[in-house]
């Protein structure tokens, strides 16, 4: 259950990062250049997909009754963490999911 929980957290955080980068202002603050329309659209689609995957992880973790409640909480807190980290360490905030990935994979392999 814990692995699904952290997987969900990682996925919804990544989703929020993608949605954030789908906005011009934030894309610029991270990569110092204007995004093309295609980039913005890709990021937004990816963001929603990742949020959906996070939802699946929450369902796997808590079941259909409690999962959506947990997902809502995870999305809210992931968003809040991202917003607080973004102005101080924009690159770190965006790449955090990639840093989390090896931990999750090793946990999955050990389980």
């Amino acid at each position: 259950m814990l692995i699904e929980f952290f997987a969900g957290l990682l996925l919804v955080y990544a989703g929020m990062v993608a949605l954030c980068l789908g906005l011009k202002r934030h894309f610029k603050s991270v990569w110092q250049r204007e995004p093309s329309v295609t980039w913005c659209r890709t990021f937004r689609v990816c963001g929603w997909l990742l949020l959906a995957l996070g939802f699946a992880a929450c369902i796997a973790s808590w079941g259909w009754a409690q999962g959506p409640v947990g997902w809502m909480g995870q999305v809210s807190l992931a968003g809040l963490a991202l917003v607080l980290l973004m102005p101080y360490r924009p690159r770190l905030a965006t790449l955090l999911p990639l840093l989390g990935l090896p931990f999750l994979l090793s946990a999955l392999l050990l389980a």
Binding site: G70, G73, S76, L80, V83, L84, M86
Partner: protein
């Protein structure tokens, strides 16, 4: 007055409604957030309780043998079992009552142990909706504040024009702009939680706030409205139990006092666990008689539905199931699921932490809103007349003593648990007095000191109390971290202390000279152009 737009009037409503209820709401949200971990705080505040190395069945057997030895003649026993969240085993005897004196037992040996009297984490839970006020005054005030919160939330949706455009925006180190950004971010991102927790909080006491429907349709008979309501039923059972108990004692007096052995509890516990989830308590009526009954109740957290009053009954001698847990009716189920969403007992520790951090975010949203009110008016406090200036001055002081002072009071409450002498009578009440005394002191301090000084000193005080919690335990206990729950709680307080220290440090920093209004507008204009 000139006619104002909807946005302006909503902005006025949000500002003043938020200010008036903000202080109360902060206290409600902070204690409610702490109450998420009420059982863990209980365990921390009862440091004599040993670690439980045995399973529930063994602990129950120990309790039964203790009760047989010391209370064989009682008509009813109640055993509260160690659970995942609390290693404490305790028993009480006599007709089941809320405040019956409890005897604590060592779950590993069944020997009686002394545990200090404490108000426990339950105090935060009770304060959260009664405000420590008599009768229903507190419940009504909290209900009013909750409605105020809903008004503030909905008005904020109207006045926040860039809801999606500034969804991820936080610009630190920009004075008032940063406070507004922080208020918006904590408000917008955690909005589902704010709405859910406020609304479900009202639903819990819906029958107190709005009794009309049940009064009119069912003559105020809750049982008729919601199916077999719990309180009425337990009273009936208790009355019946008392009658039976009496007749039983008479029967014994006539010499037929043959004791019938109880069935072993382990298989019953397994059965109950399958039907209900983790079991919290076992009550046995008429132990030693052939018509003994065993009733098992689950912990609250096995499903979203608040399962207060859910139970499963077995025959005491044969062990057969007499009554399976009832299914709630639809109306009751709705109410119980909504209450359960508020009580946050489901989903295990990950869910508990989500609720805790979301609750902290709510506190932060309210606190930033309160601070924003004063920051906005700091530049020209005299502009709106002397009365307004007095009010703003008062708001500053109240902000300090509610936001920083309440945090101090909560930490001091935990310190009181360790430092008050263990043999003090009414010890729990003294702990509560420590809480309120510290809170009152913080208000006094906030009134005496200069604003920035007061903020910094109180935050430093809160930080010190939180960070030093492990040292306190080390100084007052022999093996403070034998039970891991206590160690985790202290780690969490250290983390909170670090946050307070960070806040105090930021206040201590020399601020960039406050930019005059025109210039700051230029800056925001530049930002807009940059976009």
């Amino acid at each position: 007055m000139k006619p104002s737009s909807l946005t302006q009037s909503m902005s006025w409503l949000h500002t003043w409604g938020g200010l008036i209820f903000g202080w109360l709401l902060f206290a409600i949200f902070l204690t409610g957030t702490l109450a998420v971990f009420d059982k863990e705080i209980d365990v921390w505040m009862q440091p004599e309780a040993p670690v439980s190395h045995v399973d529930q069945a063994q602990a129950a057997e120990h309790a039964i043998s203790y009760l047989q030895r010391h209370h064989g003649a009682e008509s009813a026993w109640d055993i509260s079992l160690p659970t995942a969240r609390s290693p404490v085993l305790s028993v009480s005897t006599g007709e089941r009552r809320r405040n019956a004196p409890r005897q604590y037992l060592d779950p590993n040996t069944g020997e009686p142990i002394d545990i200090r009297e404490t108000a426990g984490g339950r105090f935060f839970f009770l304060f959260h909706f009664t405000l420590h006020m008599p009768r229903n005054i507190g419940i009504w005030l909290v209900g009013l504040a909750a409605v105020g919160m809903l008004v503030a939330l909905f008005s904020s949706l109207i006045i926040h024009k860039k809801f999606f455009k500034e969804f991820f925006t936080f610009r630190p180190n920009k004075g008032q702009r940063s406070w507004l950004d922080a208020h918006n971010a904590t408000g917008v991102l955690v909005l589902p939680f704010h709405l859910m927790i406020t609304y479900t909080g009202l639903v819990i006491f819906s029958l107190i706030y709005m009794p009309a429907a049940v009064d009119a349709l069912f003559d105020g008979d809750r049982e008729a409205a919601f199916g077999p309501g719990q309180p009425a039923k337990t009273e009936q059972q208790a009355a019946q139990g008392a009658r039976n108990g009496r007749s039983q004692n008479e029967g014994r007096g006539e010499g037929s006092g043959e004791l019938v052995a109880l069935t072993p509890l382990q298989p019953l516990l397994l059965q109950a666990e399958q039907a209900l989830g983790e079991v919290r308590s076992v009550s046995i009526s008429h132990p030693g008689r052939s018509d003994a009954r065993i009733e098992m109740r689950p912990v609250l957290g096995n499903r979203i539905e608040l399962s207060k009053g859910l139970s499963m009954t077995f025959a005491g001698v044969s062990g057969e199931v007499l009554k399976m847990p009832e299914q709630s009716r639809w109306a009751q189920l709705t109410q119980r699921v909504l209450s359960g969403l508020h009580f946050a007992q489901f989903g295990g520790y990950p869910m508990r932490w989500l609720y805790f951090i979301c609750g902290m975010a709510s506190c932060a949203m309210i606190a930033t809103g309160l601070v924003l009110f004063t920051v906005k008016r700091r530049r020209r406090p005299e502009a709106e007349g002397p009365i307004a200036a007095q009010l703003y001055h008062l708001a500053e002081r109240l902000n300090i003593s509610v936001i920083a002072g309440l945090s101090i009071a909560c930490a001091a409450y935990l310190w009181g648990n360790r430092l008050l002498p263990a043999e003090l009578s009414q010890r729990g009440a003294w702990e509560v007095r420590v809480f309120f005394a510290c809170w009152a002191l913080s208000l006094l301090h906030a009134c005496c000191r200069e604003r920035t000084q007061a903020w910094r000193e109180q935050l430093v005080c809160a930080a010190a109390l939180c960070v030093c919690m492990p040292l306190l335990s080390l100084a007052t206990m022999t093996r403070p971290w034998a039970e891991p729950i206590r160690a985790y709680l202290e780690l969490s307080t250290v983390a909170c202390g670090a946050l307070f220290a960070f806040a105090a440090w930021r206040i201590g920093q020399k601020k960039p000279a406050p930019a005059p209004r025109r210039q700051s507008r230029n800056v925001s204009q530049e930002l807009l152009n940059a976009d």
